[in-house]
Symmetry: D2
Subunit: 132 residues, 4 copies
Amino acid sequence: MNKNIIKKKIYYHDTDAGGVVYYANYLKYFEEGRTQYFETKGIFTEELLKEGIAFVVAKAEIEYKKPVRYKESIDIITGIEEIRNSSVVFYQEVFKGKNLCCRARIVVVCVNKNMKPIRIPEQIKKLWRALE
Amino acid sequence: MNKNIIKKKIYYHDTDAGGVVYYANYLKYFEEGRTQYFETKGIFTEELLKEGIAFVVAKAEIEYKKPVRYKESIDIITGIEEIRNSSVVFYQEVFKGKNLCCRARIVVVCVNKNMKPIRIPEQIKKLWRALE
Amino acid sequence: MNKNIIKKKIYYHDTDAGGVVYYANYLKYFEEGRTQYFETKGIFTEELLKEGIAFVVAKAEIEYKKPVRYKESIDIITGIEEIRNSSVVFYQEVFKGKNLCCRARIVVVCVNKNMKPIRIPEQIKKLWRALE
Amino acid sequence: MNKNIIKKKIYYHDTDAGGVVYYANYLKYFEEGRTQYFETKGIFTEELLKEGIAFVVAKAEIEYKKPVRYKESIDIITGIEEIRNSSVVFYQEVFKGKNLCCRARIVVVCVNKNMKPIRIPEQIKKLWRALE
């Protein structure tokens, strides 16, 4: 499976008073991972928006395995698990060295201006499938 | 099932450039909902911390149904779905009037100082069960 | 001077690994304070937006006096210090009981669609001045 | 004056429903800028914490000049304006290409475990002064 990796360092604004990365912030890292993954495939979501096509998150399943702390460095890994008619399932992970800290399955749906699911444009499917 | 409701108004800091509440922020509202729920049951997590007992999120399954926008008001609803030996499963929802916007199942695990799962103290289980 | 007060409780998502409220988050509380203050004066910024009028922050001077911690309650106080031709100067404070924790002077400018400063509409000035 | 530059790309989580970077988030970028600047000088604040020495923000003066939008790239520039007995004044800017978008003067105070200002340790002053 083709994957995208981005690196990130943890700052105070990522953490909470428990001394670890706040649980909602992993969804920010996963957003960054998917955006980078789209771009490496030549898919620029802001251009699609002009045509009234958007990709929105419909579902997220997240497992928290190990905490990440201030100043630690993480790898955010993004891959595609499945391409459906109007949605894509991303599989995403956060690693600290060799330790899996968090993993998620994120379902992103292709919608029109009225937020109704539509078929993913064929040229986009092709770009993704080429490297599946 | 016994439930807790808190109300919240959406400000700019809750939203993103898509014009709607950013998908990670629902986890903040759910944190607030669970904390309030704990307190209505007489459970103060900061006191448990002094004894080395913490409740950490191990799993979150979130479904995004309808967007919420700037200045809209939401109800955050929190209930307990299941009490296990060392974890509790919360069922949480965000409503905008009668419209379900987001719902989640959040698994919270009771851990010791070394982040190892431990049995939930019996007096806490009782407090929860009394109103299940 | 006429003032608006809102109360808020501090959750994990407000704090950082230093155990206290993260310094950027006070600007979120101040946004909430100003928005509430506008509304108590009958000024709904989202309606002004339809006419192409927006209020944007041009300057913020913040002093951090005392830390605020998890589960503590704060009062966010908002008042108007000065009304100018195209801007308003807000004076805002965060108190924990009788302790001043943070105070700020925030300059908000009235702009048109092209982000150019314009005179504050006379009916809005009147609403503010009535209670100055 | 010696300066540190870091690059950053803007994601949805940085923006608000106004379509631009939320005003509080610049303080996150400035935190990242100062932390990187400390490290390029060989100052690791997490090690100082073990000795009970912390650097906390006491004052921030921020001017917002131009908005930054989704997918745009920014340069975060950090320099030292003045080194005092117990505080350092940072001068920080956010540029989008050649356009200044935001600038700030941030006063960081050296404190002990009781949050009382103390003299900045001499070896740290030296590290900073060497490249002033």
